[in-house]
Subunit: 178 residues, 2 copies
């Protein structure tokens, strides 16, 4: 799929998935896109647990409240980062940026292969969800689940949320007012 | 360009650029890719100043030490975010993630159009560079330059930095050791 089409088609999917497994070579292609994302100092410090074991998915979905986008997902990609980024001694931390760039690449790759996904992020920080999911997939204590992506063939056709036009967010040579 | 090819070809370019202006419709297509990136709560809170005025580019390049990737760039995309993200009252801030996702989309779009770019980020935080560049392009006091992307037709052909293989950063169903 053309990159501009993938960017336009990518959307945050919160519906149910068709009961179709994802071939592992597709999951590997999606994660490979994440591996190829830029990272500060080329640190490549985001790691990934690809969950396609149905019983494990069910346990993760239960921790997340059992919504269809999790409970019916044939696969999830759990993105794991350093728990306490070391932003000291003049060396900055890009843990969040690096993970986000990898996630965006994976969302585009999933879109290109006909899947829908969701950048599930902030809610992981409440009610020990990140830690509980990390325990289920064996994340070591110095690392933490930052983002979770359910992946599957969507039951429903959805579109990207409406976006503001260029004129409201971008300007040539002089910043306008957002 | 196919999305997987764009992901594989994207690289951090630090060389000089050919003396070729970028058509504004190309710059708009690149920024449009950024506008279509996901953002937490669909906040769309990253804004963009597209610099293609040669004298302004020269002043920004001088602030950044005059390296070829800046001094010879026919355009720069200045990414602007909220200075003090409001992560209070149970509402998280995704300012960094949102900007990073937009940047990654723009890097892929630039790659697809035959340009090379660089995610220039951390060094902006030193020696008042973010503030000084912000002043040059009129960024208001409550917002700050987070990332700067020089864009142009590269003089030299470069490749993506070597990346670790899948086995060292990803596992099925159980986290391995990075």
């Amino acid at each position: 799929m053309d990159v501009f089409e993938a960017i336009a088609r990518r959307h945050s999917y919160r519906g149910g998935y068709q009961d179709l497994p994802i071939p592992r070579d597709h999951l590997q292609r999606i994660v490979q896109a994440g591996l190829q994302a830029p990272s500060g100092y080329n640190a490549q410090d985001t790691t990934f647990v690809v969950v396609d074991d149905r019983s494990l998915i069910a346990r993760i979905a239960a921790l997340l409240g059992g919504g269809a986008v999790f409970a019916s997902a044939p696969a999830m990609i759990v993105c794991v980062v350093e728990r306490a980024p070391a932003a000291s001694a003049g060396r900055l931390s890009f843990v969040i940026e690096n993970c986000a760039a990898a996630v965006e690449n994976m969302l585009l790759a999933a879109t290109a292969l006909g899947y829908a996904s969701l950048w599930y992020d902030g809610s992981l920080r409440f009610e020990h969800r990140a830690e509980d999911i990390g325990a289920l997939v064996g994340v070591p204590p110095d690392r933490v689940v930052q983002v979770l992506l359910p992946v599957g063939v969507p039951l429903e056709s959805r579109q990207q949320a409406a976006k503001k036009p260029f004129e409201q967010r971008a300007w040539f040579n002089r910043c306008g007012s957002a």
